[in-house]
Symmetry: C2
Subunit: 455 residues, 2 copies
């Protein structure tokens, strides 16, 4: 057998040239998007004013197993991919665990995360369609940065609505996007009807992802030659993100490594879905078995405490309804919640897999997450994003469990990104001023009460 | 011949296991460090209160060609090395140049730069000597971050004196260091005698590197079990940084690539020295020829407008005298100068090579540097540090020259780091508020007047 290097980089000729569509292998397909007015499945034509044509095709397609990655996207991927699959030797040693820990590190690009994998795909299809530009929302800022980079590369205009509290707390994220030529507007803004409506109803609001989505969609549909693009949740995004899992799968097969447990953080689900898809495919086809664990923040627990129901994807209720594990589109995470993973819902694909008990989910509190992040930074050298640190925390927990039981399990987790723009939150942790927040059932109730009434 | 991949990563078994000491091949050796009082060459014993024993040996040794890299450092290097050697296809296409452009990218680690290469070496030797901790200074913050990471990994205490203006303008840099367990003190501080003296003489000063060095040295010599370490300028640091050049040299030989021009930014000189050393060795031994270009900011032009003389390395004049191209230890770059590369002097090794006309130097103005940085970011995807962007600017100039002459030159430059903590400066550029500053001869005069009088 080959000797396993510390970091596994695939060769260029081993790189995936297709994305994988896990829906093909799912017995229970994810429920379709519904028209918010008629509650009938959204058609290709109905989606065209909002989304790019080719992306709609990918969104609606649950029968094609593989999509060819266009040559221009493959070229762009070469700029920052393959990402390394790293054996966490130092962490294993520190934890004194018999477990073998691997992580797939997606942070070594300027967007600082895996988001670039889908950003370039979406920008590419927009460009192919002859569009002038795209609109989007961003919360923590990783998606907005990724899309700005992709648009700069292809010469597309990029309009980002950035959740206002993030716009104000993260001026440097905003500046990166501007460096890539994007326009960045704090949301809610006076630029859109939905923004003005929200500002009137909630003067002084610091915004939310759901609200920024509504503004971005409105802007796209009112401008000639623009479409709206989204960084997570949608099935098309999970498809693009399978580049993560496919690279990992190839690298592990090459060195004959079988992960017993695969762990990822879950906000909208794109990273987790992308990482696990090829492995889940094997499980669905009965070829192999794995444990999958989705990790979410205790303060925004859509899988562990949400309901599996059709819900609005945005605050302005202009998007299609999606069936997902959700806290209700009116749910807003506590302001003490740091970092991303603050979306009220979850990818339809992952929601279905979770409902079918093919995947587990756990929630973790943020001080424990930052503690794990700090330990990881000091031992493995990488300063992780708060989002990614949710996966680190649970990977460490599983490794410690192996120490107790003496099991030599192989643990794989997704390290989605770096925390360079999250030092405000790290500072709070360093100063001992970070708090935990777990909503009570009563506090979750208003969110559920806002779910659309379905026939 | 092998097909050249987009990014060249060496295999683990191709990685250098020794650092190279270019002084061995220099006909004119760098001038020795002098005792600031007696003006006699500093001895090993005289340096021991300040520096770690093994590092002094490396500093004084100009006859050993190669130093074995200790196993523990090789293990640490594996966490983030090899760094990729990248062919800048996209930039070439944008510039429409027949030149082939390569860059060695050192920014893919949490310190955000090449500084980690020497930080781990210095921390390792401190640990080997049984010390409790180390002290240092940091300006832009890359070195302080790197040293914090290395010390956290080895369990050493780390005390960083951070130039006050940087401490205040870059709270997030400070927070990264704290996350790695370092203590960070704004300099000048009340903690040291030299700090108090400077504060008395210049109340409200925002500090300088030379002043922070003095404070760090004083702290190290007054604390039991501590030594002072430095991130650039010293020959030992250049030796450690040859890991950059050795990897590059191996990768280029492997694919039969001959760089005609090798370009690096120069502050204290560690990155440039590390990159060019193996190639310079070939040139010194008459085995090959290359053009070497040091790039410095027009606002702090030590090579292009400095004097080759013995000078103080720090404001407090507690360090040994070094013979170098210098603007005088009293020189303080304009406050409009963004980013690093603000040291008044230059590595003795590079100074001697430059004086022997084995290397060229150019200075560039900062708005042109940020323009190049932005273009690079948009085409190559990496957001470069302002320091590194000096090299980008000149590499682009040379590539454009090739377009004019039709020459297919191969250009190699060092991309030392990322600009994630420099968004304040990028913001000024994005807002059109960045200015250029070139000191007049009269403005340089006071610095030169402060040079020590030598017999």
């Amino acid at each position: 057998m080959r000797e396993i290097p510390y970091k596994i980089y695939l060769e260029e000729n081993e790189m995936p040239t297709q994305w994988y569509n896990v829906r093909v292998d799912m017995k229970n397909k994810p429920a379709p998007l519904l028209n918010p007015t008629t509650h009938k499945p959204m058609t290709y034509e109905e989606l065209r004013p909002v989304f790019c044509d080719e992306l709609i095709r990918q969104e609606l397609d649950d029968t094609t197993a593989y999509f060819d990655i266009p040559q221009e996207i493959l070229e762009f991927y070469k700029m920052y991919r393959p990402s390394p699959l790293v054996r966490a030797y130092c962490l294993e040693k520190t934890l004194n665990t018999p477990a073998k820990i691997y992580y797939k590190f997606e942070g070594n690009n300027t967007s600082g995360s895996h988001k670039l994998n889908s950003a370039i795909a979406q920008a590419y299809y927009a460009k192919q369609q002859g569009l002038k530009g795209v609109t989007t929302e961003t919360g923590a800022g990783q998606w907005g940065t990724a899309l700005s980079m992709a648009c700069a590369y292809l010469g597309l205009d990029c309009k980002v609505f950035m959740v206002k509290c993030s716009y104000e707390q993260k001026p440097f994220r905003r500046e990166v996007m501007r460096t890539y030529g994007a326009s960045v507007t704090p949301s809610p803004s006076e630029q859109t009807e939905v923004g003005r409506r929200i500002l009137e109803a909630h003067p002084g609001t610091s915004g939310s992802l759901g609200c920024a989505i509504s503004e971005a969609v409105e802007t796209a549909t009112h401008l000639d030659g623009y479409r709206y693009v989204l960084g997570s949740v949608l099935s098309q995004v999970l498809v693009h993100q399978t580049i993560i899992g496919l690279e990992t799968h190839t690298a592990m097969k090459k060195y004959d490594i079988h992960p017993d447990i695969i762990i990822g953080c879950a906000g909208g689900g794109s990273n987790l879905g992308g990482l696990i898809s090829p492995f889940m495919g094997e499980k669905l086809r009965g070829e192999a078995d794995y444990r999958f664990i989705a990790v979410e923040p205790a303060s925004c627990p859509s899988l562990t405490r949400g309901r599996y129901a059709y819900d609005y994807c945005d605050t302005g209720m202009v998007c299609p309804l999606a069936k997902m594990y959700t806290l209700g589109s009116g749910f807003i995470p506590s302001s003490s919640h740091a970092g991303g993973l603050r979306y009220h819902g979850m990818s339809s694909i992952l929601s279905q897999l979770y409902d079918d008990k093919l995947m587990e989910a756990v929630s973790v509190e943020q001080t424990s997450v930052f503690k794990a992040a700090q330990q990881f930074a000091r031992t493995e050298g990488i300063l992780p994003a708060p989002e990614s640190s949710h996966a680190i925390k649970v990977a460490m927990d599983e490794a410690i469990r192996c120490k107790e039981t003496g099991e030599e399990k192989t643990i794989l987790f997704g390290l989605t990104g770096t925390g360079y723009f999250d030092m405000f939150a790290y500072g709070k942790y360093n100063d001992g001023e970070m708090s935990d927040y777990i909503p009570t059932d009563a506090e979750l109730e208003p969110g559920f009460a806002g779910l659309p009434k379905m026939e």
